[in-house]
Each structure stands twice: as structure tokens, then as C-alpha cells.
Symmetry: D2
């Protein structure tokens, strides 16, 4: 492992996975979607995250998706591969496979099945073993809404000292936690917001960007928000931020990946079905999403 030169920052889209009607992978539609996202102002792509339905794909499928995106992405756009597995050993294998598939970094969600045993010590050991073995830098991923596990600040601080751990995607809306991590972690450790609804608050706390499901639909307003914040125009940044919260809630908490895929269809991307046990949303719910897209200025 040589010292990495990866520098995280900006808005990353955690790409959804394209399925055919029979729930098989559709790499062709995925590739066409990536070509569309390539035209959007994004810092990079995250593959194999919650939005990508990673727990519903086999490891082989996850790597196929990753290779497809690596192949399609333009120069200069970072691809972060999802290496999350429940066991540490399998995560290490997946980290290596992601690296071989061309990922610039990997992202690893906290293991969660044995939630009562996922103490700070267990999580630190897990991430250390993964980071020691991963050929590419590691991004921590905290997502209590899905995992029921909350990676505590002292564990993050300890892990931030590891040469091969470069940041965290923090998916709670708790900007105090983000601020404290930024205050205490090793310099250069990147905190990325995990929800578009708190992007401004996260930036204000010192986050360097976000991995945002909404970025699949709204890369431009999110870039505008980031730029406005960067030049100190908080009023403009806030205006953009406030206009995105409702639609973001619909395509994340409320309807989840099925909602996001419906929204993608409204704006001209391939959406397609989710995989079972997830279930697709109703026509009335799709209409509700259309209205929210219009309300947010993402669709006319």
C-alpha cells in the first residue's frame, strides 16, 4: 500500500442499479444512465451503496456494475466501490476485487447483523483489518437508519489516524456529530454528508461534500448550493437547500430506492424496478413524486 493521493470533495452520486423487468442486471441501461450522469456536475460515483441495492446483488453482480461504471466514467471522475460485507474477511476480499475492478477507493458500511455486539472496539478492529488489506483508500460509511448501528465519534477519530482511511459518509442528519468529527479527526480526513437535506449544514460544519442520493436527480442545484456556499452567499445556498428537502425526503426515507427510480424515469433516465423484497411504488405515489420534482424545479 503506497500513500494514497485521493482527495475527496464535492458531490458524489450513489448510483442506483438498473434492472430489467425480470430483476436481472441491465448493464446496457446502466451504461446509458452513466453517460447522462457524465454530463452533470458531479465529483464522482459511489457504486454498491444503499441506493445501489447492494445487499440485493451478489458480490459478482456488484463487481460487474462497478466495472461497467469504471468503463463509462470520464477522466477525473472518482469511482468509489462498495465493499461492504457482513464478515471482515469477505469485506477484505471485496476490497481487493473492487480495486482490481478499477475503483479509486472503497466505501464500507458498518456490519450490522450482530448489532448488539458492534461495539466501538469491534468496529475499529473491523475497519482496521479492512484498511490494512485494501489496495485503495477506505471511506467509512455510517447509516443507522438501515443498519441500526451508529459508528461513534471516538471510533471515527481513532480510525481517522489510519493512513488508508480517508473519510466518512455520515448519513445521519446530525451536523453536531459531523462538526465534532471534523474538529477531532486527523487533518485531511474528509467528512461527507449522506443526505442532500443537510448539505448546507454539513458544509457549514466543515464537511467537504456529500454522497447524496438526490445527486442522481439534482446534480445542478446541488452544485449551485455548493458554489454559493463557497463564495459566501449563504442566502442563495439556503434558498436552494430549502427547496430540495421535500423532494429528497420522498426519494429517500419515504419511498426509498423505488421512489428514486420513479423519479429518474420522470426526468428521462432509465429507472426500472427494484429487486424483491423491495417493492415498486404505485402510480399514485409516482404522481406524488412528479409533483415534488416540479415543485423543486427539477421537472417542468
Amino acid at each position: 500500500m503506497v500513500p494514497h493521493t485521493l482527495r475527496l470533495g464535492g458531490v458524489y452520486a450513489p448510483l442506483p442499479t438498473a434492472f430489467r423487468a425480470d430483476e436481472a442486471l441491465d448493464l446496457q441501461e446502466l451504461g446509458l444512465n452513466v453517460a447522462r450522469w457524465n454530463a452533470e456536475p458531479l465529483a464522482g460515483y459511489v457504486i454498491g451503496g444503499s441506493t445501489g441495492e447492494f445487499p440485493l446483488l451478489t458480490p459478482q453482480e456488484r463487481l460487474e456494475v462497478l466495472r461497467c461504471v469504471v468503463h463509462e466514467r470520464p477522466a477525473g471522475r472518482t469511482v468509489i466501490g462498495g465493499a461492504s460485507m457482513e464478515s471482515t474477511g469477505a469485506t477484505v476480499e471485496m476490497a481487493i476485487a473492487c480495486s482490481e475492478a478499477g475503483a479509486d477507493a472503497i466505501i464500507v458500511v458498518t456490519p450490522s447483523y450482530y448489532k448488539g455486539k458492534m461495539t466501538a472496539a469491534a468496529l475499529v478492529e473491523h475497519y482496521r483489518m479492512v484498511a490494512d488489506a485494501s489496495p485503495v483508500p477506505v471511506v467509512l460509511y455510517n447509516m443507522p437508519a438501515n443498519t441500526g448501528v451508529d459508528l461513534p465519534v471516538p471510533a471515527v477519530v481513532e480510525l481517522s489516524a489510519h493512513d488508508n482511511i480517508v473519510g466518512i459518509k455520515e448519513s445521519t442528519p446530525d451536523v453536531a456529530k459531523m462538526g465534532l468529527m471534523i474538529h477531532l479527526c486527523s487533518p485531511g480526513f474528509a467528512v461527507l454528508a449522506g443526505s442532500a437535506s443537510v448539505l448546507l449544514g454539513a458544509l457549514a460544519a466543515g464537511a467537504v461534500g456529500g454522497v447524496l442520493a438526490l445527486a442522481n436527480l439534482a446534480a445542478r442545484p446541488l452544485a449551485r448550493l455548493t458554489e454559493a456556499f463557497g463564495r459566501g452567499d449563504i442566502e442563495d445556498a439556503r434558498k436552494t437547500q430549502l427547496g430540495l428537502i421535500e423532494v429528497n425526503a420522498l426519494v429517500t426515507e419515504r419511498f426509498g430506492v423505488a421512489g428514486l427510480k420513479a423519479a429518474l424515469e420522470w426526468i428521462g433516465y432509465y429507472g426500472g424496478p427494484v429487486r424483491h423484497p423491495l417493492i415498486n411504488i404505485s402510480p399514485a405515489e409516482k404522481e406524488q413524486i412528479r409533483a415534488a420534482l416540479v415543485g423543486a424545479g427539477l421537472l417542468s
Copy 2:
């Protein structure tokens, strides 16, 4: 009820209640503390909040404390009385009594004992009945960490249209929720952060200030943060913000009111004991608080 002219904004301190060693009210020490807080840059005081140990006082004691603070406060400093009771009828009586005691407004936490029944409809009806009857404006108070009840955004939006409901103290760290309320509520409805650790994020989302336990100890840095934010100096605001999160956690989540009272003693105020069933903290814990105060530049 005549249209109110109260305009909320800035940093409010939710005052702790002074007790003697035998747990009896100590209005003399409270008065002396108020004289000290009067010299600090604060927009006003909140009496009978969680920091004031309101559930551990009788209604009569709560009014005594309120009258004491009203008497001591300087002109131009708002006093918000805590009228929270479990029953709606008792809350109405308390609202009237607070008004008679000189409160400029009242603050009312969500009832919480029957948490499974505190639906949006029940909460809206509760607050409406209180606001209809209260001689002074009403501030909503959402504090799930203590109540186990989370006042949902649609209920807040509906209530914000009431002439006599002027704002909310939102004590979750969720700046997305704050942003959404600001986006959807009636113009002029004031959102106040409930934790000093998210003040900057809340201001960025459009909050007008906060009711912050830490303001009892750190009014000046909090004012500096607010001012820096106001003039667009986010970097300076952030620096102040990040330096306050650890000490704030100690005197709120970690050690609660007992921690805050210990901290007050370190900086020259009267602290005194908490009332049972709360228990005082140990000398080692007091030392931990001292170190955090020093670390935050609040004590030399």
C-alpha cells in the same frame, strides 16, 4: 388576545433553578445568578424548561422562579415562561399564570406520558387549545430525547398559522427538519435551535437563534458565532462552533443539568445541587467538566 408584537431572535439561556443543599428553592442565589447573566449578550431567558428542572418543581415554585427572573431582568430582555403540563387544561392554567407573572411568551413541551397516543392530531389540538387561551404568545417545544415524542413537521406547519403561536424550540440536531419547517411554515414563524452544537447549521438553514443550555456558560462565544455568521464569515463562525461541541455535550447529554450546575460553579456562578431523582456528579466528573471548559476557552 391582541396580535402580539414579540419578535424572537438571538440566543436565549434556559436558566437552571438554584436549590439549596436541602433541595429547597434558593431565589436569592437565583437572583444573583440572573444579575450575572444580565451582563452577558443574551436575547432573553427561558424559565421552566428542561434545564430548569421544571418537572421537579411544583407549579407554584415554577411561578416563583419566573417572578424572580422577571423582576431581575433588564429592560429589553425577553422572558419566556415554561407552561408545560401533561394535561391541556393544566397547561392553559399555567399559561395564564405565567402571563400574570410577567412572562412575555410561554414555551410548551409536547405532552409525553401517553406517547403512543400523541398523534399529530392530538398534539395539534393540544397546542391550539393552549394558544387560544394563552394571553401571551406560545413557543412550541420539541424535545424527543426527554419526551420520546417527536412533533412532526406537518403539525408544526399547521400550528404556525395560528396567530398566537410564534415559533418552536427544536431540540433535535436535525437541521433538515429545521430547514423544512422554515420552508413551509407561515412567514415570521421563528425556528430556534435547541442545542448549541448545531447553532451554525441551524442559522444556515434559516433559524433565527437558539434556546441553548450552553448559553448559561458561553453567551459570548455564542454571540460571536452568531455575529460572524451574520456578516458572512463562515470560517470564523465554524471555528467557534467546533470548539463548543465537546463541552456542550458534557453539560447536556452526558451529565445533564448536574453537569451544567457544576460548570456554573467553575465559572463563578451559583450551581448547587439538582433535585432527586436527578443525582449530582462526582468530583472526577466535575474535573472532566473543568478540563472541557478550559479546552473551550471558557475558563483559564
Copy 3:
């Protein structure tokens, strides 16, 4: 304090409080209800519990209700007064007042507003101070669904050694917890189930009875269950038990006290309204309760 001779056991009804249409106490209707309950096979009454809407009454009203029931109850029927207050000092005062009002014992729910601070140590100290001062024996009351606080087994074991603490109403459905308390607590310490739906399981674990909201409606089947269990006829006890779970869920978790009051009206008692912030149930919901009463054989 002289050693008590109270011996808990059997089924106790936690009485609901009768209100007039304007939500004022209606002691006359309460008295008439008590006369009806007197004809039912019950070991006693609990006043001022969750079913009695205790947090929505003033301390004075709670004592009026207690005095009314003490006056109406027949010889040999135990009356347990609810002395729960948030502060330890107020609980002690209420314990003394309940004793003076004629209560044979008091029941005290865990304080809960400062839930993060209600450690085992704080709760043990609270109950010790109350038990030291109470003229009548103390029953612990664990009700996490309402309080968000769970009194842990080691605290109960420690408290069971106190001369003036005679038992616990355990309102979780966790019969393993009940069993462990029975195994570890001082001999004679009475564990009472807090839900009619687990009565059989609790008895099997060694509980001596229950304080059961459903006992207001179904004292006879609950007595039948208890008797069948006592003579070793598990099949019969189970048959009764299984037939009561649905209706019990409706008048507790699902519709709460408003549901119980509606059910009381169906079987010929006075029900009346609940106090705000609780809200009454709809005609359709009342019909649902009627159907469940019929289904359980409590109404024809």
C-alpha cells in the same frame, strides 16, 4: 414504619377516572362504577395508574379519587394509591397523602422526564427515599411504553430487600424478566403482570397476579384463568388467555384509555371522555371495540 402485613396476589383493576363531558372529575359516576366492580372477583383496585390518567389530574384530584374509592370498596379489597410524581420529594409527599387517604399501599412508576439520567443508581435512590418515608408499603411500577425507562433487574433485586418494598407491576410482556426477578428477589417479593395478555405466562413464571387494565372489563374470565392455572388445568387457562389478547390490545396499546372507556360503556359502566391531550375515539373505533368484546365473550 412497622413491618407491613400486606400480601399481594390475584387480579387488581387499575381504575379509570370518570370525567364529565367538560372533563371535570365525576366522583358520583366513579362511585357507581366502583359499586359495580365490587361485585366482580377482584383482589383490589389501583388508583392513579396510567389507566387512571394520573398525569392529567392534579395531586388534589388524585387524592379525591383515592378517597372516593377507599370509601366505596368492600372490606378485604386492597386499594393501592398511585403516588407517582417526577420529583422524589413530591413522591414522598404524595405517598404520605395517599396513606392518609386510606391507601393500603402505594404504587410508584419510574420517573421519566430525564430518561437519559434515570440510571439504575438514580432509580434505586429514588425508590429507597420513597420507601423509607412511606407509611404504607411500596409497589414498584415499570412501564417503558409510557416512560421510555426500563427498571433493570439488578435494581429491582436490590430494592426487593427493602422492608417497605413489597412488589412490582411489570408492564412489559417479557416473562423472562419476570422469571429472573422472581428467581433473584427476596422471598415474598410479589411480581405482578401489567398486561392481561401475558397473565398466564407470568403466572407460569411465578407471578402472583396482575394489575390489568382489562380487569375493568373482564374480571371473571381473568379469575377463571387464574383458577384454572391454580388447579393445574393449563389447557383451560390457555383457552381463556388466548381469547382475551385481541380485545386487550384494543383497550390498551391500540386505543388506550379512550378505548377502555368506550368498552366500559358497552358493558354498562360509565365511560365518559378522556382528558386532553388524549382524544376520544370515533364511532367506527367504538364499533370495532364492540365487535372485539363480543368476540371475547364479554358482550352478547
Copy 4:
């Protein structure tokens, strides 16, 4: 799919998986352990449950373990294979593979990563698709402590009508839920307790047995409990039950699989390490387990 003839009942041991020091599968030690369990009074084995660390094994390893146990088990002892995967499609594949490996039935835990989307409708659809495709009968598996998902009673009732769904392992301690399922589900639907600490309460409610981690250590006392209950000797059953709760808590909630493996070593089985991210317990904790085994009469 032909109508199944499997009849569940009695105590099943969910077998832990044997690993070598380097965390590789150790099928030899597993086989030796199975030979020991064969001498114990057990109705059968569950492979690939939480106790088997199934999320930490690859699907291939899970099948290897299953084949090993099928090979070693004596005639008449049921083997239930764990087919749980996050996606419905992968679960179907695993169900078929388990059947081919010789499982008499499969057990499937609720999918859980997208917990906010695991509505009753989604879970019913998942289980229906699995049951439609599985060559062997399906046992539902509810385990909220690990999954954060609670399979609701109406969903279980609906699923109990499926020809190929024969029962549920219910791992909450809620005997009211068990009772309600028994009351409402199709005749013959088997409810199995998931914790040894509530076995007696579950049997009283009509459960036909349990899948109990403790059965790996205490098959005989659990059989004694079941037999005593069967002949109506509740006192004897309770005595056994109460003596097992503490040790059971240690090898499940408190120390989890690592605790169970340590306990196995104390009583002469192969224990071995857990797989990361799980971590092994300390010598002091092992000693605590030894003391509890002695206390429960499982070790002299």
C-alpha cells in the same frame, strides 16, 4: 411441491459453526460436536441461524456446514437449513440448495437492510415467493434484536395459510404475541420460542417447542422442563426454567455467539473463535460464564 408431512415440535438446537484459529471452517470439529449433540435429547438442528454466524459465512460455506450436519445426524432428527438472504431471489436459490443438501425444512429470517421498507406487504410477498419455490417447508424467523424488523401478527396469520409455511421461530420474549399467533393462525401452524428464557411461558401459550441457543449446552434441563410441563407439573417446570435464565442471558444477549462458544468449551465441546467483526471474549468473561454454568447445574 407435494404436501409436506413435517411436524415440528420439541427443542431444536441452532448449531454454532466451528472455525479454526484462522477463522476457516472446521468441519471436522463440527462433525465431532454433532456426534455429541446426537446423544442429547433434541428434536433437531437448525443450521445457518444467528447462532451459526450465517451472515459471516459465504453461501457455499453455509451449504457445506449443512451437508456435514445432515450427514452426521441420526435418523429421526430434523435438520432445518438456514436459507436467509437479503434478496428474495437469492433466498429462493438458497432454499433450493438447502433442499438439495438434505434439509428437511428451511428457516428464513426477515430481510432487514431496508428496514424502513419492510412493510407487512413486502414481507408477505417475500415469504410467499420463497414458499412457492421452496422444495421443502418454510419456517418464518422473527429476530428484531438482530434485524430491527418485527414481523407483525397479521402478516404471520396471512402466511400461515400457505401450504408450504409450517411455523415460525419467534425470538422476542413476547408471549402475548405468540399467544395471538397461536389463536389466529391456521391449525397446525407451529410457533417455536426463540429464547430458552421464555420456553415455559411459550409452552403455556401453546407453542410446540423452541429453537434455543441454550439447547446446545442444556438439552437435558430443557427436555426436563418440556416434559414436566407436558405432565402438568408446572412447579417443576418453573424451577428448571428460572434456573436457566441467567446463564441463557450470558450466552445470548450479553456475550452472544462468542459467549456460547466459550460455554461449549467449558462443557467439553469444541468452541473455537468467532469470525470478525465479532470478537472473542476475555478470560474474565469466560470465567463469568463458567460460574454461571456451575450456578445452573450445567457444570460441576
